[in-house]
Symmetry: C2
Subunit: 426 residues, 2 copies
């Protein structure tokens, strides 16, 4: 834990300090921001003993409070994980700085030049739970994009986050940037989170990370604009003309490669004319990988024939993000029924159709209204890294500002620069 | 008034119908949408007697309820204004359709092609007051950008809006588009507005138009994402090196050309070393144009010398959008004080500096965080038409999604189209 003892500061004072610090961050050069990021990476490694000691306090409290093993695992920092965090910060050093990029511009007929340029939001707020890696991650992304960050990391990780924020603040100060540019408000508990959500004017955008419940709370209670990185009830459709090898490979990859993430498939919709041909090999491949099939009435016989571990699908299954080796399977009459099902149950994250029918492919791409719509590819490709953005800012499931995988530019706003020579409007 | 009698429909049913209609709008061709817009323009002119009769009812109610003359004027539709509305719709026909535009794209190393394309939001909600022109305006912009629109136009214009929406719906139906794509919810009164603000999932974005109070209410109460088109407490700074002719021309233009709009200047900040040289001619020009000067202590003597109509400025003046021939004037010690004043009082709409000092110009452009920041140009240029966007969607004063003058593309979201040939993630 940090050895400096500061006078107690109110939440409002902290937010005002972050706003002030954001002015310096907004005009800091890329070189200076990168120097600060390198200092953070170094600091995380140099302070690893202190960080792990604080983390052990959090883990002990977590065990006492009956935290699930999944949460405890997410909360836990090891030397290897700290190395991973430091590496991730250095990777952000390598990304292009979005601040100052010209988005578009023109010369007006009267000789006035207008240019739209990227500028930082100002202060980015983050609300998350039991994920100390997010503290480093969001802070580094915010600094690179010229934003200050106010972090509410939750009570379960309070000791770890306090030390991590101390490391970040020391790194900022050592490079001449204001330490207040990254702050934790964990000490204010749930009240602090509630105040952060109402801090319109002091906080420019709020990013919730965590359970569907947490995200729903932030989205409905916040008066600060929110970027929603929501859940993925992701669909794969096997059309009548789907190639068998692609169907097997893509469904298996989309479900099995990393079942706990939002771009993993949750529901498989199979054209009834393709069921005889495709369901046996697809279900066999899933079974071999240990997947439990939640089968609707029409797919249940195939599941039984393939000796799968299967249960009858319930209505709830269609709306569930399992995040585990479970998949819901439904036989549909046609593409209309598939699209209608998706419209009803999808969280509008990612959907993919496996087909060789051009008209159906184009119809699927046009009519399915999700952040990412695919033909003949694994839903696991919905990812900032895979898309070539370099950084993992999250995947937006909202329609305003950013949709789908987000890169550093999505952490910026824009402003218009207008250069005249005395022009007035006629 | 419309002669058809429809069965009463609940607000939820209306929103659900708009959502359904939005699916057809989203995939409608530009040709079909343009045909509908031409039919609206024709319909407005053909129904002008009916529209004006309904408008007279609203005006009579307004007079009875003591509506201000300004509001009554805004509410009033004349044959000339209807012609103007029809012309504005035809102008939107001439704009490029943003739907389907590719924003960016690439081929991934594995052969997967990704393209980010513009898609409609879905359902756009609008909340406004006593402005029947907005009914036609928003409906036309929504249709062109492939969105359905749900309109809450306020009780003062209820009769006029009912007829206008009838005209729009007939035009939609006549071109094979769903009439439900544009709906009014005025019949549900204030409850309707409150429900609209909570209709997350059914309404994709909400645009408030009207008083600062109305916008504040929508921004703080809505769980639907909002695009804020806010007030303009706009500043012009006269730097030490400002050219006198530009100072006079730009300040006069920015204040006088159209004082009732959001890009008109409200506060003039004058470098103390420029006050002797610039304030006399600038104040004389403003006085000649009938402007009342709200002068701070240091500018008051200049105002008296120039025989202006002047009053001492109060603290309130700095935060006021007068929307009239009033301007607040303050002498500042230096650029720091000017920027600090702007940071404190600006609504982050538009600020302009008149200067011949390159370093000061660049500093102003970099450090002032407003939607539009200018050097040596009139603040009146902050306008979609002037920027070459063709349409007047509004001027966003928020940082998320859109900032500054908005064109049709700002009424769209995006989605990623991914085309593969069996690729899976390794």
């Amino acid at each position: 834990m940090s050895s400096t003892i500061a006078a107690p500061v109110s939440l409002d004072e902290k937010l005002a300090a972050a706003k002030r610090a954001s002015i310096a961050l907004a005009t800091a050069t890329t070189d200076r921001k990168d120097t600060a990021l390198r200092a953070i990476a170094d600091g995380v490694l140099a302070a690893s003993a202190e960080i792990i000691a604080a983390n052990e306090l959090d883990l002990a409290n977590g065990r006492e409070n009956g935290l699930s093993s999944g949460l405890l695992d997410r909360l836990s920092l090891t030397p290897a994980r700290l190395q991973g965090l430091a590496d991730a910060v250095l990777q952000i050093v390598g990304l292009a700085d979005p601040v100052g990029q010209a988005v578009r511009g023109s010369a007006l007929p009267n000789g006035v030049h207008i240019t739209q340029v990227r500028v930082p939001f100002g202060v980015v707020g983050a609300i998350y739970e039991a994920r100390p890696n997010v503290t480093i991650d969001i802070a580094a992304l915010a600094i690179k994009s010229g934003n200050a960050a106010v972090l509410r990391g939750g009570s379960a990780a309070i000791e770890t986050n306090r030390v991590l924020v101390g490391v970040i603040q020391q790194a900022l100060a050592s490079t001449g940037l204001p330490a207040d540019a990254v702050q934790t408000i964990d000490e204010f508990g749930r009240d602090g989170a509630a105040q952060l959500m109402k801090a319109r004017g002091l906080v420019d955008v709020l990013i919730p990370r965590g359970s569907a419940d947490l995200i729903r709370t932030v989205v409905t209670e916040s008066t600060v604009p929110v970027i929603e990185t929501g859940a993925g009830v992701v669909h794969v459709v096997l059309d009548e003309s789907a190639r068998e090898d692609w169907a097997v490979d893509i469904v298996r990859n989309a479900k099995v490669q990393r079942p706990s993430v939002c771009n993993a498939v949750e529901t498989l919709l199979v054209h009834r004319s393709a069921a005889d041909r495709l369901l046996p090999p697809v279900l066999a491949a899933l079974t071999e990988a240990g997947v439990t099939i939640h089968a609707d009435e029409r797919s249940l016989p195939y599941a039984a024939d393939a000796s799968t571990t299967s249960v009858p699908a319930t209505d709830e299954d269609w709306a569930t993000e399992h995040m585990s080796l479970d998949i819901a399977v439904k036989v549909v009459d046609d593409l209309d029924e598939a699209i209608e099902h998706i419209r009803r149950y999808s969280t509008q994250h990612t959907e993919s159709i496996i087909t060789n029918d051009l008209a159906n492919a184009e119809r699927f791409l046009a009519e399915v209204d999700s952040a990412v719509v695919m033909v003949n590819a694994s839903t696991r490709f919905t990812d900032g890294g895979e898309f070539g953005f370099g950084a993992e800012v999250g995947i937006s499931t909202q329609k305003l500002h950013a949709r789908g995988p987000m890169g550093l530019p999505e952490l910026t706003s824009t402003k218009w620069i207008v250069r005249g020579s005395g022009q007035i409007r006629g």
